[in-house]
Structures are given as structure tokens and as C-alpha cells.
């Protein structure tokens, strides 16, 4: 049996939970349930239609069980695949395989956290590593800072180029009513902000917010009977390389080179055929690394690319059109929100930030400290 067939499943519902700083006392499960119900309403379905449930979170860790208890649903198939912020791209691929295999027909993928309200250290405590912890790296920031230092050394990437990623994200965020950040940002402000772990300042780093989301996935044939324009899964790929940054083979090349290559091959598309790019910007260096590794520019050119080609609303390549983890929302494992934004762009419902005529989108998730990479390519009916 061939699995993960191009276009065999589609996203038919997508929704965020409340975002930012949510009402006091709301739990992550409140937010997940809220997002699931909104996504099902978006799809024109009800909780009782759900027979496949995919979720993972650091609170609650028994995530699908918490959602089932809350919504009193009893899906035939569960999946709590956990690889950090990229989990949901892989869960989408798993949902596709499960639907193809007949294990379920209507799958929901959900995530939420209250890391802003509850405190980040409580929500995702660090696992000590006896070979790293004595040196007191500020994780995850220091891991990404080490990668940035190596990229700067090897390719001449500058702090100003890193800052340009944050500025572009902010420009997109100002077009997104749901974004956390509401004020413009300059390169100078990024450079002058509090240093977290050199060369990354607090403005090179993603937000710490509450929030979550959900998507509904079903077979292509069922999708065509539902109320929303289906967004088809054209290809997916993943790669895991390490847990700790000291075990990453080359800090300038991420597993996105592998995961993206697999996804492009399955989708039958090349980077030049992608209209919208949504990549996990935990830190500004991530956007640069992923643009390189996903083939939008040659290795080492990412810093120059974000300045010269431009990735903001007026740039040559639309990247992180919701404002990204840097300026829109970052509730921990942010990957699911990338899938929601890619879906909305392909449905053409993004208002001021809509990329005109978008038919294809790439959504790339990152987990840990550049540890797990998972890429999906989505397309409209026109791409089938």
C-alpha cells in the first residue's frame, strides 16, 4: 500500500484558541477544547464526527486523554507524537497515513499552552544534561546563539541581517489583528534590546505567550463535501538529528535540508514554485537557516537574502505572514499555528496580509534546539 499519497487528505477546518494573555485561570485544555470546537465549526463538523485525535503538549502531557475527557469524545485513533514545536507537521503526516489506512476519517490536531500566564519554567522545565548544565547555557536561547555565532563566522552574517528578520516579522504582525505586537520595530531597536545570549537580543527571540490552535483533517473525497475550500497535503518530510546542541553535527546546516527535500519530492514541487513560506522563527537565526535549508537561497546567503530580496509585506518572498513567533504569538510549540496560517493563506482569507493568488505554501516546524525538523507542503485544488 502506498501511503502519504500526494493530495490524499486535506485540511478542512482551522482555528486559533484565545491568544496572547488569556483570561486568568484558563487551562491549556480549556484552550485546546476551544480551538477544537472552533476548528470543527469552521469545517461544519461536530465533536462526534471526530474519530482521530492528534495532540501533544507539555501541559497536560497526556494530551489526547485530556481533550477526550473535556469534550467527552471517544476517537478510534490517538497519536501523541512528541518532538517539540515540529510535532504537528509530523502529526499531519501521521493523520494522512491513518486516514489512508482506514484507522480514522476525521482527524483533529490540537495544541495549547498557558506558558505566559503559568510561567515558562513551570510549563516546560528543562531536562538537565550533565555535559551542558554546569556551563549555565540559557536554553533554548544559547543553543540558537551558538548556531548564529557559527553562521556569522562562516558566512559573514551580521547582527543587522538577523535584526532584519525581526523587523520583517513585525511588519507582517502589524497587518494581523490577532498579533501580540502592535508597534513598529526598527533594526536599531533590535540591536539595542536586552542581550539574552550574544548575538541574540530579546527582539531576536520569539514571544512568550499563551495560545493554541487546532486543525481538522479528512480524506480528499470527504473534504470536497464540506463547506470550506480544502487545503490539500501535497508532501511531508521529517528529520531528527540530536537533542542537545553540543551533539548537533554542523550548527549551520539543519535537518530542514533533509525534511524539505523529502517534502518537495513528494509534492513534485521546487522552492521557486512555493507562494507562501511559513517557517518556525524561534529566533531570527532560524528564519535564515530554514530559508537556506529549504532551498530559497544558497547556504550562507540567508542573511543577505532577507535584506536584499526581502521577506516582509513589501519583500520578494512572503515569509511568516502572520507575524511569526517573533511578533504574532508563541505559546511554546508554535508549529500548529504555522499550519493554520498556511491554510488561511491558501483559502485567501488573510485580509491585509493576504498573499495575492497563493496556491502553494510550505509550513516548516522546528523542535528542541534545531533538533527535530518537519516540513509540509500544502496546496489548493488547482495544484492537484
Amino acid at each position: 500500500m502506498t501511503t502519504n499519497r500526494r493530495g490524499s487528505v486535506a485540511i478542512v477546518g482551522a482555528a486559533e484558541s484565545d491568544l496572547g494573555a488569556v483570561a486568568a485561570g484558563l487551562s491549556p485544555t480549556d484552550l485546546m477544547a476551544q480551538a477544537v470546537l472552533r476548528a470543527l465549526r469552521d469545517a461544519g463538523l461536530s465533536p462526534h464526527d471526530v474519530d482521530g485525535l492528534f495532540a501533544c503538549a507539555s501541559q497536560p502531557r497526556m494530551t489526547t486523554m485530556a481533550i477526550c475527557e473535556y469534550l467527552r469524545i471517544d476517537p478510534r485513533h490517538h497519536d501523541v507524537t512528541y518532538m517539540g514545536g515540529s510535532s504537528f507537521m509530523t502529526q499531519l503526516a501521521h493523520a494522512q497515513a491513518a486516514i489512508e489506512a482506514g484507522l480514522c476519517e476525521v482527524a483533529v490536531i490540537a495544541y495549547a499552552s498557558t506558558q505566559r500566564s503559568s510561567g515558562r519554567n513551570l510549563v516546560s522545565p528543562r531536562e538537565p544534561n550533565p555535559y551542558e548544565t554546569p556551563y549555565r547555557p540559557v536554553l533554548p536561547a544559547s543553543a540558537y546563539a551558538l548556531a548564529a555565532s557559527r553562521h556569522m563566522h562562516q558566512y559573514g552574517t551580521t547582527r543587522e541581517q538577523l535584526a532584519a528578520v525581526a523587523v520583517a516579522a513585525r511588519e507582517w504582525a502589524l497587518l494581523n489583528p490577532a498579533a501580540w505586537e502592535k508597534q513598529p520595530l526598527t533594526i536599531e531597536e533590535v540591536l539595542a534590546a536586552r542581550m539574552v545570549s550574544y548575538p541574540l537580543t530579546v527582539r531576536d527571540a520569539c514571544l512568550v505567550t499563551d495560545g493554541g490552535g487546532a486543525i481538522v483533517v479528512t480524506s480528499a473525497s470527504r473534504a470536497r463535501s464540506l463547506r470550506r475550500e480544502p487545503v490539500y497535503l501535497l508532501g511531508s518530510g521529517e528529520h531528527l538529528s540530536h537533542v542537545s546542541i553540543s551533539s548537533m553535527p554542523d550548527l549551520t546546516v539543519t535537518g530542514a535540508a533533509r525534511s524539505g527535500g523529502i517534502a518537495y519530492r513528494k509534492a513534485g514541487l521546487s522552492p521557486s514554485e512555493i507562494d507562501v513560506v511559513e517557517v518556525y522563527d524561534a529566533f531570527t537565526i532560524c528564519t535564515i537557516l530554514f530559508l537556506e535549508d529549504l532551498g530559497f537561497c544558497p547556504k550562507g546567503e540567508g542573511g543577505r537574502f532577507v535584506v536584499e530580496r526581502g521577506i516582509g509585506p513589501k519583500g520578494g518572498l512572503p515569509v511568516n505572514t502572520n507575524g511569526g513567533g517573533l511578533s504574532y504569538c508563541h505559546p511554546g510549540q508554535y508549529g500548529l499555528l504555522l499550519l493554520i496560517e498556511a491554510t488561511r493563506q491558501l483559502r485567501g482569507e488573510c485580509g491585509e496580509r493576504q498573499v495575492a493568488g497563493a496556491e502553494t505554501a510550505i509550513a516548516h516546524g522546528n523542535g528542541g534546539v534545531l533538533s527535530s525538523q518537519s516540513t509540509v507542503i500544502l496546496g489548493t485544488a488547482a495544484t492537484l
Partner: protein, 132 residues
């Protein structure tokens, strides 16, 4: 040669620390893969072989990546990745030079940090050309 049926009598971490207590930076070397690896493990990550020999490094290496942190309280400090000459990489701290001025490519030499109290010793590095 031990097999998986045999219980481990000392952890890789404890072996590493015993060497540090003797003033040595030691590392596991895979006889099967003919190469060093780090972090220390029960088996070689390249072959799965348990034929591992602990070797003592000459303690010389090169800074591969570097960052520094200035905490809200206390002094700034460095965090670096060093490629040790025998062919393995570890996280460490470069001392004997301002944390902000550690440069990638700098040649460094190990120094065992004797931690106070119950804390285990750990390796830090100093620039090779700096005053001892």
C-alpha cells in the same frame, strides 16, 4: 568484551568524572569505528559496538561556536563549543579572557574546574596563548 547481558558496573558519566578528579579530560574511543565520540555512552553511536576504550585527551582544541550571557545578577560568562583535537566536540566555558571577546577558531587548552562542595568537577578551557 562485555555483552548487553552483563550489567554496567560504572556509568559513562562517572567514568568521565573519575578522570576529571585525576586532572584528566578523558573520552570514549570506539575500537570498531576507530574514532572518538562524545557525550560518553554505553555503546558507540556509529556502530552500536560496546568495544569502547577510554582515552585521555592531550587537552587541546579549537573554539567552534561561542556565546555569552550577562545575567541580571552576577558577572557575564561565556558558553562555547570546542572541537577537541582527538575528534570530539563538547560544551564548555572559555576562561582567562573576557567572555565577550572569545573568537571562533581560537586554540584552547583544557583546565579542570574544581567545583565547590558536592558539585562534580568539569572541564573548562583557556586560550593557548594566554598567561597561565
Amino acid at each position: 568484551m562485555s555483552g548487553w547481558a552483563e550489567r554496567a558496573t560504572i556509568s559513562p558519566l562517572e567514568t568521565f568524572r573519575e578522570h576529571l578528579r585525576r586532572g584528566e579530560l578523558a573520552f570514549p574511543y570506539s575500537l570498531e569505528a576507530q574514532r572518538a565520540f562524545f557525550f560518553p555512552r554505553l555503546a558507540c553511536p556509529y556502530t552500536g559496538s560496546e568495544r569502547i576504550e577510554w582515552r585521555v585527551s592531550r587537552g587541546l582544541g579549537t573554539v567552534y561556536a561561542t556565546t555569552w550571557i550577562r545575567p541580571r545578577e552576577g558577572d557575564a560568562y561565556n558558553v562555547a563549543l570546542v572541537d577537541v583535537d582527538e575528534g570530539f566536540r563538547l560544551m564548555t566555558r572559555i576562561e582567562g579572557v573576557a567572555p565577550e571577546s572569545v573568537a571562533i577558531g581560537t586554540r584552547v587548552r583544557v583546565r579542570i574546574h574544581e567545583a565547590p562542595g558536592e558539585e562534580a568537577p568539569y572541564p573548562v578551557f583557556v586560550p593557548l596563548d594566554s598567561a597561565k
